[in-house]
Symmetry: C3
Subunit: 261 residues, 3 copies
Amino acid sequence: MPDPIITLTTDFGEGSPYVAAMKGVIIGINPAARLLDLTHKVPPQHVRHAAFFLAGAVPYFPPDVIHVIVVDPGVGTQRALLYVEVDGHRLLVPDNGCWTRLVSPLSRPIVRRLTEPRYWRRPVSTTFHGRDILAPSAAHLSLGVAPASLGPLTEDWVRLDFPSPVLTPDRLAGEVVFIDDFGNLLTNIPGEAFRAFSGRRVRIAVGEQEVTRIVRTYGEAEPGTPVALISSSGELEIAVNHGSAAVVLQAGMGTRVVVMT
Amino acid sequence: MPDPIITLTTDFGEGSPYVAAMKGVIIGINPAARLLDLTHKVPPQHVRHAAFFLAGAVPYFPPDVIHVIVVDPGVGTQRALLYVEVDGHRLLVPDNGCWTRLVSPLSRPIVRRLTEPRYWRRPVSTTFHGRDILAPSAAHLSLGVAPASLGPLTEDWVRLDFPSPVLTPDRLAGEVVFIDDFGNLLTNIPGEAFRAFSGRRVRIAVGEQEVTRIVRTYGEAEPGTPVALISSSGELEIAVNHGSAAVVLQAGMGTRVVVMT
Amino acid sequence: MPDPIITLTTDFGEGSPYVAAMKGVIIGINPAARLLDLTHKVPPQHVRHAAFFLAGAVPYFPPDVIHVIVVDPGVGTQRALLYVEVDGHRLLVPDNGCWTRLVSPLSRPIVRRLTEPRYWRRPVSTTFHGRDILAPSAAHLSLGVAPASLGPLTEDWVRLDFPSPVLTPDRLAGEVVFIDDFGNLLTNIPGEAFRAFSGRRVRIAVGEQEVTRIVRTYGEAEPGTPVALISSSGELEIAVNHGSAAVVLQAGMGTRVVVMT
């Protein structure tokens, strides 16, 4: 049995000692825990960005890994902290919906409220529950503490409302839901829906701009040309080979994307 | 016994291969060492930033961890390199005071000069002692080499002079000592001193600006409002919910903060 | 035997979930693999930057480590993916030359094309071979799969053309080949060649600027002064103590550097 893995996803950035403090707390409780940074560059308090990040990251991990997420604009207020099991993945999260993009129609999430102070760091600050509650809870879980010990089951948790695309035989209307560090625009339009248009001449409105070039991969297009393709996670993506589609097309999260014949 | 942990704190940034080279050197000496990044985003040569970073990070770790710090404007000059034990924590550092914010009145630091070339990488460059001396010394320590083998005890080491707040029953005068990635302003005014003002109407001067709203946690204030609160490390903090206090209040390290009734 | 180490070097940045997805894929195949981030800040698609990064990082690692590099502008096109052994180091790379700065005149690289889909993630996307081919291949290698199982030997791989300096007894003409996060300019002029000029009065043209101060280490110069020194990897380096030579001298990769008497 390899030693347990705990991953960290935060909006803390890398200049301040908050991530390091969480690592110290975890190692202090379980010196054998193996820590993996997923990202500390979620934009500050950007729960929706965290949701799409997690949807693009957590499913690739095997089920025994514990994921700690600290994107927590409500820290210290009445918002709960949760232990979640979804499709076999285990997460410790603030109850702000950051994990709910992982929930599919077939998922049967098991959700517990963290109420058992025995597994917390004392005293608990009002502004850093990642260090004082989530990290120590993860460390105790990694030592074999049963999830049921952390707190009671609950059905009452925040679900983020994710924009649904409107898909008709002649028109796919969605939006940009994530922008990666290359400036590629990830949309919520399913790849299969887009593929159903193949063979037809389509144009794609991205905000006020238009994209007409459809490719299989970035390198098929001349540098600088905006292109549409199926992303590595299976949705319609707008990209610019050797450039930033976000910059070239002046697009951001929420920019409307419409595929038309 | 879990394998030994070595943490890395540098000002190298992440585009250049210096951090990777240190990791390689450590793994080359002790293939079982477990490496943890604390940060590589200390502002270049900013020893004082490193000091506050370490004070916010190292105390959370258990004592058997080895911390390597490479923020080293004096590399290659006559400044010494040190092995330090302070409150049970073990550090390998340039002798520029970067670790001395960890020293409390009760601490009894044990400090050794690294003089034993047997534990260094050869040849030693003039510009990268992190790779050539600190990393290999850490790796050898993690293999069980006795600290005394690294070099002789010394009492002669650089102490950074940290600004002390001036605390009177009616006035607390301090300054911003650290700014985190959110733009929160961490001050050197102790939380207990500030709490003693509770119940009284106070205003807080932050440079030329004024803050009057006092909260327990960020989410209590409307987005955009500057607030004062007790930080997760127990000092007075100035923040802006969903914003950067550093930007909103045009404050930086050293900006004067005065609490008045 | 410590658990196997797999390092990651990408141009993915840190806000998007691509690095995390690769970590998940690796851990899913080999739960005991120990992951090390080298960098995720290679400038987008900058194969040449990656080449110099790897030349400054990989040689410090012991030979049993597996290095995965994903700087891959040609993803999904006809470019091959490779398993490489060079001077005992093992790499999984796109065939774009990113690893070829590691090849010395004495190296005898062993190169295989990755053709065996058994070791890939299915289905293979057209835009993320790092996740679908390189990461799983690395994980399988770390489990003991023989390199020969990954695909056939090849002699046909892309060699990057690195600029050679022109060295004469009176003049050393080279260029800036890498800029680190401090703004230090690393050149391709060998330190020994530069040392042969010692004792003579030299001036160094860096683009349109001139540097006359020669030092052993940064701290010998007054803050702000451009200096020349031998870098920690043994080449001529141009730096500014407490500043950025790239900014002060308005230099970039490719800026011409000429040492003259």
